[in-house]
């Protein structure tokens, strides 16, 4: 099984979720993160003190899927999350050795 961690823009979350569910992927976990990369942050100014805020708010979407589904998931997220401008984010793909569903104890792909 594979885990795809996608760092995406906030306002693309709805699209990504819908695209994934349309293609039959019905599980994901998201988390608020802040990213540092090519995309510039912004500066804030409080009574004459300037702060450079280098970290940009992003959403991390984690999707676990079977190896077979990997390409589909990657492709789906890519399409839904793309704007073409710096800061669209990245996908990190890794292997999982197992998945367990807490409720039932099912493991492996059955657990998804």
């Amino acid at each position: 099984m594979k885990k795809i961690e996608a760092i995406i823009r906030h306002f693309k979350l709805e699209d990504v979720k819908n695209a994934l569910t349309e293609r039959g992927v019905h599980g994901m976990t998201i988390c608020e993160v802040r990213g540092f990369g090519r995309q510039k942050g912004h500066t804030e100014m409080y009574r004459g003190t300037e702060y450079a805020v280098d970290f940009v708010p992003k959403v991390k979407v984690e999707v676990v899927c079977s190896d077979a589904n990997l390409a589909l998931v990657i492709d789906t997220i890519m399409r839904a999350a793309q704007t073409g401008q710096i800061g669209d984010g990245k996908l990190f793909i890794s292997d999982l050795s197992d998945v367990v569903r807490i409720r039932t104890g099912e493991t492996g792909e059955d657990a998804l």
Partner: protein, 487 residues
Amino acid sequence: MVRALLLGACLVGSCLAWPAAARAQEEASSTPPSIEERLAAAEAKGEEAALAGHNAWMLTSAALVLFMTAPGLAMFYSGLVRKKNVLGVMMQCIFLMGLMTVLWGLYGYSLSFGGTRGSDGYSPYIGNTEFLGMQNVQRQLVVDKNADGTDAPRVDTPMEGVIPRFTHMLFQGMFFIITPALICGAFAERMKFSTMVVFMILWGTIIYCPLCHWVWDAGLLAFGPGLAGGALDFAGGTVVHISSGVSALVCALVMGKRLGFGSEPMPPHNLTYTVLGAGMLWVGWFGFNAGSELASDGLASSAFAVTHFSAAAGTLAWAGMEWILRGKPSVLGAASGAVAGLVCITPAAGFVQPLPAMAMGAAAGVVCFFACTKLKHTFGYDDSLDAFGVHGIGGTLGAILTGVFATREVADVALVSGGNPVGLIDGNPQLIVGQIVAVLVTVVFAAVVTFVLLKILDATMGLRVKRDEELQGLDLSQHGEEGYIFI
């Protein structure tokens, strides 16, 4: 201030306006004063006391109305936007407190209240220059002569009815702040700050001041001399709520929707602020409505009471509608209902009895509920915070129901009823005509002028922030700040 000296003198400030009385009193220590002297002193004391009492309530009311804008409205409105725009809304409120106050002091009060019907230089269309730069409002030194020919200087504070004109100016000036601030609800989360500033200067000058003069300075729409007999508007149904509500709708239409409106969720980011703000508005509104009596008397108490009852009924009605139609009463519904009830009773506060006030509040709760849910969705405009749905609709409803429920049992005999029937329930169908005419004039005037202003500003400065700025949020793009940094 100076305490010890103060004891040596007589009775601070106001007492000085009555030097004869003061002297009479001082001499009292040597020879017993004559009846004549004592009477003069009692008269002076009565004047001082009446001024003190009325002024106490009116200064409090002025403070309460400012309290409505910030923290009240700032909290109510800012809770309803997304987190990234929270400061944008608050900035509009606090900046308008500065901006409108300066304009009011320089010329706004004069354009609104300058001139007295019947005297030279009065126009029913717009105030004159009587109070420009606070002249004839501010204090001035007057040098009387004592009986023995010596100078008796005193400082005089011009009066307006039973209160210093300063107090009247302050109280009315707070309305000049909150009215434009209400409009901000319509274009929240997308308007360019610089354009908003220019718009509000123009809106206040070209729309608010004339309207205020028409209704409250014996002008075009005033009860009595106004069109079709004029309209009763105790605390600002037309001047404040209809004018701002209608302009809000025009803003929403001309500016267009927020990016993502309808597709992205845009829930209120902090409903706790909205409820707390609603509580503050409720409290402040007592100053707004009961203060509009411009005195501390029985009618002020009556206006306070009906304001309270209408707000209460509005709360129950809106939340009740939700409970019936959707199975759950919401706290946003309760808060919105309170505000709707307050808006609706505003024009009627000095003219109606408690039970009709409850009916008005309930009606406002139901009608505004539909305006903010069905109506808005049907027509699809993006009045972000429902400035039109609550203030435009609620104000109109209130203005018309004033024509129904106003009664000589409540209204001031000298100024309004003369003991004759006033509203429909008194048996007088005429008032409703005047009310409807005033509503129509206000709607058309506010809508047309706002539309023209916006079109000009759109062509020159641009109304909306850039797409990227809107996505980033107004806090960062317009002001370079973040509302909450909770890390």
